[in-house]
């Protein structure tokens, strides 16, 4: 037919998997493994910065690809989603399986956790059924050593018939050997002889029936046995994939269909039905994994788990579990807020100095005053504010959170809170997406991918905005310090401010649960999905690496956003504040237009305007407000909070105004980045619109009730 396997698979790689080879002799390696095995560490260690993350085509599942060179050869490494199995129960499993089958990697490396080998062997054995070219990487050997677990790697290799390399990817041990072994398998220096799983006689007979019929299609891609089983099993996902990737529709093959019918009848005679067949297949693999484990792993079982159990018995206990959780979250907030002060001030000073230079430069250039004002006071000042206010907290919060994640604590959070989320007809993992949302709602939206069920994922996405992000913190902190704490004296001030913020956050969580339940009962009806959460052992996080990687990511994000969003926003605000129609500036006109409605909510026109103009990024709301009130048309650095407080009071603020503004800050439309992320994740304008409306309506209703309620009570 003129199409070689080589050329068709390169084509498939590019189109269907979005993998572009730089040259035709680049060696494709697939990286598979359970979640929590340190697979990403292996990936990062092998590819360094020469990697790029995206999505698998048409799916919202992360795809990471990277390149490395070894012994003069070029390799491209594809990081498959972490999966426990390949029976296509979920999108991740389907993607992993499809790539191993149809992406035709030269070698598939399976990363396994040395401290939990039995579980990991499930996936290894399934992969061995599909392809011969496998290298097993037993990772986390350092953790295993700590837990007094030893593994006879040679025996394991003999038993399963493929090379096994032991690694501690964290410290770089074993990676050289891994690369050497991968190379040998890729070029054929090592010929593997994978272990064949034998099933019950009747199943074997059925397989023998089908194999001849599919001989031609399979060629050397993947094993006939495996394919025969999938067909007999009636695995629709597999059939769809065959269709999608190889353009083969087996339903049209009459001879094959007849044989399949016979095979199935044969099986149903001995076993009760096809379900029983699936049972047998999975059970078989699980028992073999157990047998192998018993032969190659040596450990003192009780000693191993005692430490983790002791820790967990406190962290998830009835009495202390949730208080500890709240305290930990509070600690992270506190560190973020306090830790950000000095860097923020430094950045502000530095950027202010740069502004001076910029001004001088413009002056030297001789540009018209309005151009200078527009660029320096409008664009630059907004940019400078955003960077100095946003960067330090983000640079602290995200690394801290990632450390917690690496430690293995986060599943315990989901474990503690799942009950309440179940009552709200949502998924326990939503708690984790909310935690992420504290840092940045856009990041929170992406983290919703950890929720498998589309319905529950959507609920998590739509309610993520009820958790205030780092961009809204400065607003909340300023307002609570100025107006709530003001009524208290001395030492109680900061305490009162902290309590006010905690109260806002607790309110946000309660609203999230309420709205989640509401959505479950109305627009997103459905049953709770299955919930099986693994509580992995605690691991010592790689503090240095996590911090550096997180810092770089977050810094780039904030800077990028500042340039793309805050700068143009600053320009627009300056223009609006400085162009006059009649007596008043455009800004004032708009504010006056919004005023009647805003007053109903306990706010004023300028505040509402600030929120509207703050659509690109929440962090510019207060600066815009200050700018509007000063109506000097530019942001000035107010030297003290008392001046700021006076400015607000001068514009008719009361404590109620502050409360309403805090409430509205918590409950209003998501920022533009978040909305854009929601659209990307949901692929739907409808749901993006819902994500816009739901918090907004909640905010309007809440503020209205509070404002009018307070007014009523006072009058009474």
């Amino acid at each position: 037919m003129g199409l070689t396997i080589q050329s068709t698979s390169i084509g498939v790689l590019k189109e269907k998997f979005k993998v572009e080879l730089e040259s035709s002799d680049e060696i494709v390696i697939a990286l598979a493994g359970n979640p929590n095995t340190g697979k990403s560490t292996v990936f990062n260690r092998l590819t360094g910065l020469n990697q790029h993350t995206g999505n698998w085509p048409g799916k919202t599942v992360t795809n990471a690809q990277g390149r490395f060179k070894h012994n003069e050869k070029n390799y491209i490494l594809i990081d498959l989603p972490g999966t426990y199995s390949l029976f296509a129960n979920s999108m991740e499993e389907q993607i992993a399986r499809d790539f191993i089958c149809f992406g035709n990697p030269e070698v598939t490396v399976v990363v396994a956790d040395a401290t939990s080998l039995e579980r990991n062997l499930n996936l290894v054995l399934q992969i061995l059924e599909i392809t011969d070219k496998v290298v097993v990487c037993v990772n986390l050997l350092d953790e295993a050593k700590r837990k007094k677990i030893t593994i006879d790697l040679k025996k394991l290799s003999d038993r399963i018939g493929v090379p096994v390399v032991g690694t501690s990817a964290r410290s770089g041990k074993g990676l050289q050997e891994l690369k050497d072994t991968v190379e040998k398998v890729a070029v054929g220096k090592i010929i593997t002889n994978p272990f064949k799983i034998h099933y019950d006689t009747v199943i074997e007979h059925a397989i023998e029936k089908i194999e001849p019929e599919i001989e031609d299609f399979v060629k050397s891609r993947f094993h006939k046995r495996w394919m025969a089983l999938r067909l007999i099993d009636g695995d629709n996902a597999f059939q769809d994939s065959m269709n999608a990737y190889l353009d083969m529709d087996f339903s049209k093959n009459a001879a094959l269909q007849m044989k399949l019918k016979e095979a199935r009848a044969m099986i149903c005679q001995e076993l009760s039905d096809l379900e029983e067949l699936q049972d047998r297949i999975v059970s078989n693999i699980v028992s073999i994994a157990e047998d192998i484990r018993n032969e190659v792993v040596f450990s003192n079982r009780t000693a191993r788990y005692k430490k983790v159990r002791d820790i967990d018995s406190i962290l998830t206990s009835r009495l202390y579990g949730i208080p500890i959780m709240i305290a930990l979250l509070g600690l992270i907030f506190w560190i973020t807020i306090v830790g950000a002060n000095v860097p923020s001030a430094l950045l502000a000073d530095g950027l202010f100095w740069v502004e001076g230079q910029l001004s001088a430069f413009f002056f030297w250039l001789g540009v018209p005053v309005w151009v200078h004002d527009m660029i320096v006071y409008g664009v630059y000042r907004t940019l400078a504010w955003v960077v100095s206010v946003m960067l330090p907290p983000m640079a602290i919060f995200f690394p801290l959170f990632t450390l917690l994640e690496d430690l293995g604590y986060l599943p315990r959070v989901a474990f503690n809170l799942d009950y309440y989320f179940k009552k709200a007809c949502a998924h326990g993992k939503q708690a984790l997406t909310m935690c992420m949302g504290f840092g940045c709602n856009a990041a929170g939206i992406i983290s919703c991918r950890i929720i498998d069920s589309p319905r529950e994922r959507l609920i998590a996405i739509l309610t993520n905005n009820f958790v205030p992000c780092n961009g809204r913190f400065p607003t909340l902190i300023a307002l609570s310090s100025l107006f709530i704490a003001g009524s208290f004296s001395g030492a109680f001030q900061s305490f009162a401010a902290a309590i006010a913020i905690l109260a806002v956050i607790v309110l946000g969580v309660m609203i999230t649960l309420l709205i989640s339940r509401l959505l479950s009962k109305t627009v997103l009806k459905g049953l709770p999905s299955s919930f099986a959460l693994e509580l992995p052992p605690y691991r010592r996080p790689q503090i240095g690496r996590v911090i550096v990687r997180s810092l770089i990511d977050r810094t780039l994000f904030v800077l990028g956003r500042a340039v793309a969003v805050a700068a143009p926003a600053g320009l627009i605000i300056w223009v609006m504040a400085n162009i006059s129609i009649g007596d008043e500036s455009l800004l004032t006109h708009c504010a006056q237009f919004l005023d009647p409605f805003a007053t109903l909510l306990g706010l004023d026109g300028y505040i509402l305007m600030a929120f509207l103009l703050g659509l690109p990024a929440n962090e510019i709301v207060i600066p815009i407000l200050i700018m509007s009130y000063l109506s000097g048309g530019s942001m000035l650095e107010l030297d003290s909070l008392t001046e700021l407080r006076q400015l607000f009071l001068d514009h008719g603020w009361t404590q109620l105004t502050a409360v309403c503004m805090m409430l509205f800050s918590l409950n209003h439309w998501p920022c533009a980045t978040t909305l854009w992320t929601i659209h990307k994740e949901t692929q739907s304008w409808k749901w993006t619109g819902a994500a816009f409306l739901i918090p907004t309506v909640t905010g309007v209703v809440l503020c209205f009730v509070v404002a009018q309620g307070a007014a009523l009570l006072r009058l009474v």
């Binding site: 059970s283 206990s317 474990f415 799942d418 919930f531």
Partner: protein, 79 residues
Amino acid sequence: MSTTFIPLNQLPVGSTGKVKTLAADGIERRRMLDLGLIRDTTVESLRKSPAGDPVAYEIRGAVIALRSEESSKIFVESI
């Protein structure tokens, strides 16, 4: 020893049971089997979450938390 089987969610914390039957079908059943809950697998009930549900179990060397909706469908023999 009693030969009646109890659902896993009724297994007291600290006790161990042997999996006997699964009262689930289709994908749910496959997921359970994939977790290692095949016949005669030993399961230990480790602890309840603060609210009482989900409960953490040790299954083949891994700690997995299951909601009572799932664990009520896994029938074990108490040992």
